[in-house]
């Protein structure tokens, strides 16, 4: 479709130009709160998501990410604070907002009785889209999700990765202003994850606003322009992955193992090496600008780790620093 492609690129240029002048706020949350009885699932959080941005919510299970997503998806009503999505209040304009959202839930909710293409058709109809228009759109979505050959399969016959891609394709059927993905790659094998990341990256390149929750730091680093680290319903930190690492961690990390029984004891002797030490049950993390140098210092002290590894700092380290806990437990 060269004609469309041309129009599309023109639109994108316009979007880029608009972005340069003033970023348009798609989601604004102020003091956003959700309580279930006495339990505060989301505790007065503030954030803004701009057009064309890929915004991530990073945190362990139970951090309040999914609850936040449900409120942004205009399905779950907030208990307190303010929330504006696409310029409207979800409490009073839920259907109007949802008409322009794409939602990929944590748990696939495809219709098992319907074929792959029928799932897309039925979903498109919910947005009031004409069948004729949908027929063309569905072909494009199937190709994008690499499911053209599976169009007549029942969804039950699809692999986990295919189901996810179909759910994402379904979320794109109304060409949403915001695509929301809740734990998009949880439970997928590494290859399926990479295919999915590639698809999502493509959408990001096209200027689709993405909101992603994840507890995988590599996913957050790959896909998100900006992150909000959440724990126990609160925001712990916010920024781009690089900014967060710079602010809350060192350039490199040296991981040393002395055997789980000895780690705590040895850690006392390591004081002064690197900028900070983190003692985990199975290993000691030494935060430093130069990991190799630290390792030399340790060996000079006459200590000989069973294994040692120097790596770049990651969001995992940021999270550990902020909460004292690891992301994936």
């Amino acid at each position: 479709m060269p004609k469309n492609a041309h129009k599309d690129s023109k639109e994108r240029h316009r979007a880029v130009a608009a972005k340069k002048t003033k970023p348009e706020a798609m989601i604004i949350a102020k003091g956003l709160t959700k309580t279930y009885g006495d339990f505060k699932a989301v505790d007065s959080i503030d954030f803004t998501v701009h057009r064309g941005e890929s915004f991530g919510l990073l945190g362990p299970n139970g951090a309040g990410k999914s609850t936040t997503m449900k409120m942004i998806a205009a399905t779950s009503q907030r208990s307190g604070g303010e929330l504006t999505i696409l310029g409207k209040d979800p409490n009073s304009n839920g259907p109007e907002i949802r008409a322009h959202l794409g939602v990929v839930p944590q748990q696939d909710n495809l219709d098992r009785e319907l074929k792959v293409w029928e799932n897309l058709m039925v979903y498109g109809r919910y947005f009031g889209l004409p069948r004729k228009w949908l027929k063309v759109k569905i072909e494009e979505l199937l190709e994008f999700a690499q499911l053209t050959e599976k169009r007549n399969s029942k969804t039950e016959e699809l692999s986990g990765g295919m189901k996810r891609r179909l759910t994402i394709a379904r979320g794109l059927v109304n060409e949403p202003e915001i695509l929301m993905l809740d734990e998009p790659t949880t439970g997928l094998d590494p290859q399926a994850r990479h295919i999915l990341w590639d698809r999502l990256f493509r959408l990001k390149e096209q200027g689709v606003t993405l909101v992603i929750t994840t507890h995988y730091m590599d996913e957050a680093e790959q896909l998100c322009d900006r992150l909000m680290v959440m724990d126990k319903g609160k925001i712990m930190a916010e920024g781009s992955p690089a900014e967060l690492i710079k602010k809350y961690s060192s350039k490199e990390v040296l991981e040393v193992r002395f055997g789980s029984a000895n780690n705590a004891q040895v850690a006392k002797e390591l004081k002064g090496i690197g900028t900070r030490l983190e003692v985990l049950p199975d290993r000691i993390l030494v935060y430093a600008e130069n990991g190799e140098k630290c390792l030399e210092q340790i060996v000079k002290k006459g200590l000989h780790p069973v294994t040692s590894l120097v790596r770049r700092s990651s969001l995992e380290d940021v999270f550990l620093r902020l909460t004292g806990r690891t992301l994936v437990e």
Binding site: T75, E96, R125, G128, E140, L172, E175, H194, L203
Partner: protein
């Protein structure tokens, strides 16, 4: 991983933003839900039609004619309400067909929507609201109900158990019973937590079956002891059956009872809908 971007499929944004009209979804959401439900029903159309024709045929042969000839020979040919047993039984069987048809489309599909496939949650992620899901599911259930009653009527006509003039009004009576009962059952099914599908077996054994047995289906309700008659009074099955008998072969009926029959079925529908609307909205917005 190197990717040839030029040859990779790209999404074109052709302008759904302008095509998607939230107001249209708000106006027609229920119809879209009904459309999906009917589409799914059509996948089973052979079973639906086979059951719709087979079930009445078997019933009419075994009970209508089998037991009917026994009743007619021992009590005389026109002993109950001045008609033969088959004519007396027909409106009751028809009411059962209406209730059963509508119910099949609100019980399991609701569990599917909330628990198994969670399709109601995916509907609600679009502009569709919980109330529209209720209305759409009910519309589809009523389509099934009307079809099932109609097929049953065709069988009854073939057996000479009803007159063709009574076909439209009996269809209306039985659909009203189906509507009232299905609305309540939809709300009830939506209230079932998680995977507790054992509840349906309980409902089947302790509500549907007694309703079928004690609602004056096989004999006038007044021939039962008074302490069992209340089951009929609260059952849509009896109200539809009694009303159907009045409409089918002109069974004498008090005007106030006529109004009461209609009013009770309507009341069940109103209560069922408002209960279902509340349960759906609450469950979807958790």
């Amino acid at each position: 991983m190197s990717i040839d971007i030029a040859n990779e499929p790209k999404m074109t944004w052709t302008g759904a933003k302008t095509i998607v009209d939230p107001q249209r979804s708000i106006r027609r959401g229920s119809l879209y839900v009904a459309e999906t439900r009917i589409k799914k029903m059509l996948k089973w159309w052979k079973s639906i039609v086979a059951f719709g024709l087979g079930n009445p045929t078997l019933y009419l042969l075994s009970i209508g004619i089998g037991i009917g000839s026994l009743v007619d020979s021992s009590l005389g040919p026109n002993a109950i309400d001045g008609v033969n047993y088959l004519t007396f039984l027909a409106p009751a069987l028809l009411a059962t067909a209406g209730i059963q048809g509508a119910m099949d489309e609100v019980t399991w599909p609701t569990l599917e929507g909330f628990v198994w496939d969670r399709t109601f949650f995916s509907m609600n992620a679009t502009a569709i609201t919980g109330k529209q899901i209720v209305n759409g599911v009910m519309m589809a259930a009523m389509a099934r109900c009307v079809l099932q009653v109609f097929l049953y009527e065709m069988c009854l006509l073939a057996f000479g158990a009803i007159s063709w003039q009574s076909v439209p009004i009996l269809l209306l009576v039985c659909s009203a019973a189906g509507l009232g009962f299905a609305a309540i059952m939809l709300a009830f099914s939506a209230s079932i937590k998680d995977d507790d599908d054992g509840m349906f077996a309980l409902v089947g054994r302790f509500i549907i079956t007694p309703m079928f047995m004690f609602s004056g289906t096989f004999y006038p309700i007044t021939s039962m002891p008074i302490y069992l008659q209340w089951i009929g009074w609260i059952s849509p099955q009896w109200h539809a059956t009694n009303l159907g008998r009045a409409m089918s072969y002109g069974m004498p009926i008090e005007p106030w009872l006529l109004i009461l029959h209609w009013a009770l079925m309507l009341a069940m529908a109103i209560v069922g809908f408002s209960w279902a609307h509340r349960v759906f909205d609450r469950r979807l917005s958790k």
